[in-house]
């Protein structure tokens, strides 16, 4: 937009023409961002509603399933986010006080933390996929939370591929069926295992409650959406970092830092709730 300065007032060049002054712009932006945060709260509320409703009706399943998750990874991620929240808040202060070095450092740390968070999350996801703890229909774990191996489709696939059977895929398909039936709680699950195979206890026998898949649907839904927000946040902070290096911010014009920080805190708060709900209890 208008990059030609308002020389007369000595204002920051980033005040759009239709604002009376810097303060006016800042306050409008602030109101805007708060409203946006409200929409974010309501956006996430849908997932929380789903979580609460299913948890309320099936507490035992949630209590069981959360043991699949790594508390350590969750806790580290919580700390990472809290650190980044601190630096984000500090960045605002630095911008307000024209402390350029501090500002750049704080923003940089925030970005690093954001990526650290995402990295840890990615590792967790990779592990989940490896274990077969997918969402919904595909949920087919190869272990209980106590690491007892259980019968799962992936094992079949591996086994059969080794045996060089021709209809490997077809067989995997049919063996996936009993898995689905186990989910139905009909009990007569993977008894159809091919002869000559090492008999592992199936999911029901190993005590995995029916519909543990549900927990993972919610887990992936909630953390996934949260992850996307972290990713967006990271992008915004990189942009701020570049602008900070260019020296755009001043006590007259630090709105973007403040808005981004507010957003970031909200993302942090959501994680503060997700962490105990999913990992701990």
């Amino acid at each position: 937009m208008s990059h030609s300065a308002h020389e007369d007032s000595g204002q920051s060049p980033f005040i759009a023409h239709h604002y009376d002054n810097a303060r006016h712009q800042f306050e409008a932006g602030k109101l805007g961002i708060w409203l946006f945060l409200v929409t974010e709260i309501l956006f996430f509320s849908g997932l929380f509603v789903a979580y609460i409703i299913y948890r309320y009706h099936h507490p035992e399943m949630f209590e069981y399933a959360n043991r699949y998750l790594s508390v350590k990874a969750g806790a580290i991620n919580t700390c990472v986010l809290i650190i980044s929240s601190l630096t984000a808040a500090w960045a605002v202060r630095a911008a307000q006080l024209r402390q350029r070095k501090t500002l750049i450092t704080c923003l940089a740390i925030t970005v690093v933390c954001a990526f650290a968070f995402l990295g840890i999350k990615a590792k967790e996801y990779a592990h989940k996929f490896h274990m077969g703890t997918y969402w919904g229909e595909d949920f087919d774990p190869c272990e209980t939370p106590d690491l007892t191996p259980i019968d799962c489709a992936e094992r079949h696939e591996g086994h059969e591929a080794a045996a060089g059977k021709a209809e490997a895929t077809a067989a995997a398909d049919t063996t996936a069926k009993p898995g689905a039936e186990a989910a139905a709680g009909t009990g007569e699950a993977a008894a159809t295992a091919k002869p000559g195979e090492v008999k592992l206890p199936d999911r029901v026998a190993a005590g995995v409650p029916p519909h543990t898949s549900y927990f993972f649907s919610l887990y992936f839904g909630m953390t996934g959406l949260h992850g996307i927000h972290v990713l967006i946040g990271a992008g915004v902070f990189i942009w701020l970092l570049i602008r900070a290096i260019k020296g755009h911010f001043s006590p007259d014009y630090f709105g973007p830092v403040e808005y981004a920080a507010l957003y970031w805190h909200l993302v942090d708060i959501i994680w503060i709730f997700l962490f105990p709900l999913l990992y701990l209890i």
Partner: protein, 234 residues
Amino acid sequence: VVFIFVFGWQGYMHLKATPAHAHEIYVEAHQWKWGFRYENGYEDDVLHVPVNEPVRLVMKSSDVLHSFFVPAFRVKQDVIPGRYTDIWFEATEAGTYRLYCAEYCGTDHSQMKTFVKVHEAGGFEKYLDEGLAKMMNLPPVELGKLLYEKKGCKQCHSIDGSSGKGPTWKGIFGQTHTMTDGSQVLVDENYIRESILNSTAKVRSGFNPIMPVFQGKINDRGVQGLIAYIKSLK
């Protein structure tokens, strides 16, 4: 306004409070057909009820949402997959009334209609007993034909050789078909049984795996009847 609310609410509570001695009829809705099963086990695609006696419907859907709607009785209730919903009513006049599906359920939503037959006193029980007896004593081929019409096979399978949503039944017995995974399968008794009870296990190429699973909905005698019927279609 308060008055309207109270009025509406009372009417509603009346609808929800089922009398204790109501006849129970089990309703199953699927795309795009109604099925009714009576206390004695007889099944039909028309709803039969006695006059002046309360009837309670226990309803379930096997695919998407449907809604049981008889305008003449002012009753409506959605039918939901994975859950039972119920409703009751008492017909006060013998006769035949229209029954619709009021919740949008796909292509033939507007064709998902049938009738309610309200029997004179005594007629209801008699009809059920006779119906059951008839069904039990039918020779297999006849039974298969009946099921073909009443269980909804007719919607997808023709008996004249033309392909609909599913393959025709005419002359398939003994043929060899290619499945979507490329394998060849001979259409024999076993394959037909499997196709009926768990249709998606083997899907014939050129068709979509849309056929409902009939496991638990058609018993052994029924399956045999259907096999006999398919065999008979040369």
